[in-house]
Structure formats: structure tokens, C-alpha cells
Symmetry: C2
Subunit: 148 residues, 2 copies
Amino acid sequence: MENLCLKNTLRLLQSADQIKARLSGDFASVHGISVNEVFLLMHLEKAPLHRLSRVELAKRMYVSASTITRMAAPMEKIGLVARQADSRDARLAFVVLTEAGLEKVKEARATFAKQASHVFRDRWTEADLDQLSSLLHRLIADAPGDLT
Amino acid sequence: MENLCLKNTLRLLQSADQIKARLSGDFASVHGISVNEVFLLMHLEKAPLHRLSRVELAKRMYVSASTITRMAAPMEKIGLVARQADSRDARLAFVVLTEAGLEKVKEARATFAKQASHVFRDRWTEADLDQLSSLLHRLIADAPGDLT
DNA sequence: GCAAACTACTTGCGTATGCAAGCAATTAGT
DNA sequence: ACTAATTGCTTGCATACGCAAGTAGTTTGC
């Protein structure tokens, strides 16, 4: 039983590394932003008012708060996101999706989907995919940032 | 269909990030080496003669060759791996597992398994785990470095 | 058999990221 | 109400990594 968990964890991490390696290359050259930046945009897109505080983004992306600070800065410069203060709590600095950011994330999602379908080439039936989807969902069901 | 692939890819990458985040913290403090270093040791352990060339390691770990060079150096210093030349081809510099390295990877695998079983807490039956294992296997079946 | 192409590895440089420290604002304790 | 603890964010420093260039060794084409 413990060995089964080990096997699953190893396979999941290896699969993720493999997929990341395949995505990382093409992405930046097509959209001008990295995969991680697309993920950030997706989190914002899914959030109410298209905005999230920096710590909330950090939690959902499993990175440190400083990483969010440093990721948001250049994206703000090119107009994909904007900084928004909270009137109630002056500590909060929301990252909010702009119109351009919304456009960009839609485009990026399309090419992401294209790449994703290449990962599951042939021999994956819809039933297989549903099954995998359902199982993976249980791993992130209680997490705060499910993007699907 | 394409959306199903997208959903699966997103969930898989998110699950992996979540698991990595949970593992990374504890690991270094327990064994003195990082998770990635444990993976390197596992690849060597699985390889014939407990050794692999640097480029082969790079392929299996989905990292660049320079990363392997830089990962191996400190591990060599603390005696977990050694450098071994090839008599036929003087360009090759194998990374070979030492006795100490073999010990270390066995210990590390044990705590890895413990953490892994915590990831799949309750409500995961053996059948569920088998199913997931089988599905993930198809994603890495043709890859060169399946650790399981 | 020799030059050109290729392969394995290393190193310099730029980028990404975590941690710890610091600052500002809010909340809790009394 | 005042102090102390907490929270949200930023910044300095150290580490990890990829890419491109460099070096050494090997294979290929003729």
C-alpha cells in the first residue's frame, strides 16, 4: 500500500516534469510570456472580479510571496495585469487582470490545449481521460486553486 | 476532447506542484540532500552497474546537461557518487553510485514513501491507486527514465 | 588519413525562486 | 488606548537552472 503510493507519486512527478519540459520551450516564443505567467493569468481569470491578493496567488500557485511580487512586476509593465489597492485594508495589493490580460490568457489557453492534446496522443479514449481527470481531481479537490 | 486533455494536463501539473511543495520542505532537513538529488540517486540505482553518463541522466531527469554537472559536483564531494571514465570513449564521464549513495537512496526512498502515503490519505482504495498508477504509466511508458 | 561534423562535458551569464529580514498596516490582549 | 503579535508585501542574498559558447574527444565523408 505504501509502495503503491510511492509508485504513484513518482510517476506523477515524472509525468509532470516530462510535460513541463515539452511545454516550456514553445510557449515563450509564441506568446511572449512563460507557462508560469500563463498560470498566474488563469488564476486571476478564474477569481471573482478577476483579481487576487498576492498572498492568495502565492498559495494557489504553491510559490512564495516574493515570487508573486517579482512575477507581477513585468506583467504590470506590459499591461497584462494592474495593481489595485483595497480601501479597507491598506496592506493589500491586488493583482487584477486587464482587458489585454484577458485576451492573452484566452489565446494562451488555446495553444495550451493544443499542446495538451499532443501529450495524450492516440490510444487515449474519452473514458480514459475522464477516469484520469476524476482521479487527479481528488488530489487537488481540497486545494484552494483548482484551475479546471 | 481537446478540453479534456487540457483539464487533465492542468490538474496533473497542479497536483505535481502541490506534492513538490509538500515534499521539498522536509526532505533537505532530514537527509541533507534535496528531492532532486534523491531522484538523481534513484536513476543511478535503477541503472545497470549503478551508473549513467551525464547526458543520459539529463535526458531521464528532463534537465540540461549543465544541471547534471552542477548537481553531481557536491554529491561527489560528500561521497554519494563518484566519477568514472570510460576506456572506450574518453569523453564519457559516468556518474556512479557509491556504497554510501546506495545507503542514502534507500533511506530517502523510505521517507519518500512515508510522505507519499500522506498525499493519498484516506479514501484512496488499493483499486483507485492501481488505476491511477496504470493511467500515469501510459504517460511515461515510452520515456527513458521511468523510476517505478 | 584528414578535415568536417558530431558528441560529451564544462563554464559564463542571465533569469527564476526561496528564505530571512524589514517595513507598513491591522488585529488582539489587557 | 497602548502595546504586542500578526499579516501583506517588498528586498537582499544565496541557490538552481537553462542557454550559448568553449574544449576535448570521436565519427563520418571523401
